[in-house]
Every structure is written in C-alpha cells, then in structure tokens.
Amino acid sequence: MPPQLPDGVPLFAYLLVSAVLFVLGVAGFLFRKNLITVFMSIELMLNAVNLSFVAFSYRWGKVDGHLFTFFVMVVAAAEAAVGLAIILTVFKNRSTLIVDDVDSLKL
C-alpha cells in the first residue's frame, strides 16, 4: 500500500522555504564581490520575507499580510531604482563594480 500523501501542505513548509531563501540571500550578500549581485541578494531576502507574510496571512485568514507584501514590493521598487542609480554613479567614478575596491572615500 503506497503511503498516502497528505491532502494539503502544512504551513511550516512554506515558512521553511522562506527561511532557506532568506539564508541564501544572506549568504549572497556576505560572500559575493559584485555590487549588483549583492544588491540582488537583498532582493532575494525581501522576497523570502514576502513569502512569510503571505503564509501568515493565510494562517489568520486576514488580508493584512497581503497588504504588507504589497508595501514591501513598492519599497523594493523604489529602493531598486535609487540603488541602481547609485551603482551607475559608482561605476562612472571608479570604473569598478568589485565591492572590495570601493574602499576609500577619496577617489
């Protein structure tokens, strides 16, 4: 008799996925050298947190978690726009995207 797969997914599975994605984002943020990849790891962390919000919104049956996700998306959009403009300026001034080389205030 094959094992009966559960009907539905336990909620902590979603939270586990969110935790793993968050840790992957932290790893990318700490280990990578390219400025843009570091920035993308931040976006990965934000996505992991979004998944947590939506999972908890399901748990309590309210829509407030979705609203928080929405606001996180808006803030991430604004942050991506300004952050990428800053990256462009850094590249224009120092001609490098390696984080280790942007290490002094003086050009």
Partner: protein, 168 residues
C-alpha cells in the same frame, strides 16, 4: 495530493534558483535565476490563495524591477567576477557551516512554533482577491498607501538626478 506535488515542485525550483543565484559567476545568470525564484514564489502565492499578490509579484517584481537590474547589467557590461585576490581560509571554513547553523536554528524555531498548525489547501485562501486587497488598501491602509506614493515620487526624482549627465 496535487497541492503537495505542486508545492514540492515549485519550492524545489525556488531553492534551486536561489542556490544558482548565489553561486553563479556571471551577473546575468544570477539575474535570470532571481527571476526564476520570483516566478516560483508567485506560484506559491497562488497556492496560498493570494491571487492579486501573485499577479503583482509577476508584474512588478519579475516584470519591472528585474528588467531594471538586467538593463543595468547589460549597460555596464558587467562580466564575470575575477577570482578573489585575498581568499580567507577561515571565512570558507567557518562561513558555510555557520550558514547551515543559521538555517537550522531558523527552521527549529519555525517547527517549534508552527509544527502542528494549519494545513494549506488550495482554494481555501480567502480573502485574497483583488477586491479584498483593494478594499483594505483604500480604507484601513490609506495613509501608508499615500505615503508610499510620495516615496515612489522621491525615488523617481532621486534616480533622475543621480543618472543625469553633468551640465557643463
């Protein structure tokens, strides 16, 4: 049973794309795997009943923010990362095990708090439609909504000023 199959598939794709994103050398490959993460997260939102948030994730995050990332990578012609000059053996020895410890600690706390909790079945995630989100957005959360519009305006102005050519 279809719930568990779909969840397993897309959670696996999300985590695999996340690992690829953090380990790939070329920024375009990282950007594409991040788009893969966002796409599979959109499916996970759909499984949790958040239809509007799933669509917003695809339209805003995967369809606009990541396009911006891709543009900047293509414009700056960011190639592969050169191999690191000052590698630290201590960082490698301590880093990866500490990450696993962090993951384990988070998972332990999560299982402790929610191990015997709710079960997510597809189709029972109400409220989640555009109507519910819109109603809450314009009544309870009206002030944050207006403030985020001002925030986006500030971001637009900032980006335009920063990326402008020098006026000589």
């Amino acid at each position: 049973m279809l719930d568990a199959a779909l969840f397993s598939l897309f959670a696996f794709i999300a985590i695999a794309c996340g690992i690829v994103m953090v380990t790939q050398k070329h920024p375009i490959a990282s950007a594409l795997s991040l788009i893969g993460v966002m796409g599979s997260l959109a499916i996970l939102y759909l499984l949790l009943g958040a239809a509007f948030i799933a669509a917003a994730q695809l339209i805003v995050y995967a369809g606009a923010i990541m396009v911006l990332f891709l543009f900047v990578i293509m414009l700056l012609n960011a190639g592969q990362e050169p191999p690191a000059r000052r590698t630290s053996l201590l960082a490698k020895l301590l880093g990866i095990p500490l990450l696993i410890v962090l993951t384990g600690a988070l998972s332990f706390v999560v299982m402790l708090a929610f191990g015997h909790g709710t079960v997510v079945k597809f189709g029972t995630g109400t409220p989640g439609s555009a109507e519910d989100v819109g109603r809450a957005l314009f009544t309870t959360y009206l002030l944050p909504f207006e403030i985020t519009s001002v925030l986006v305006l500030i971001a637009i102005l900032g980006a335009v000023v920063l990326a402008r050519k020098e006026m000589d």
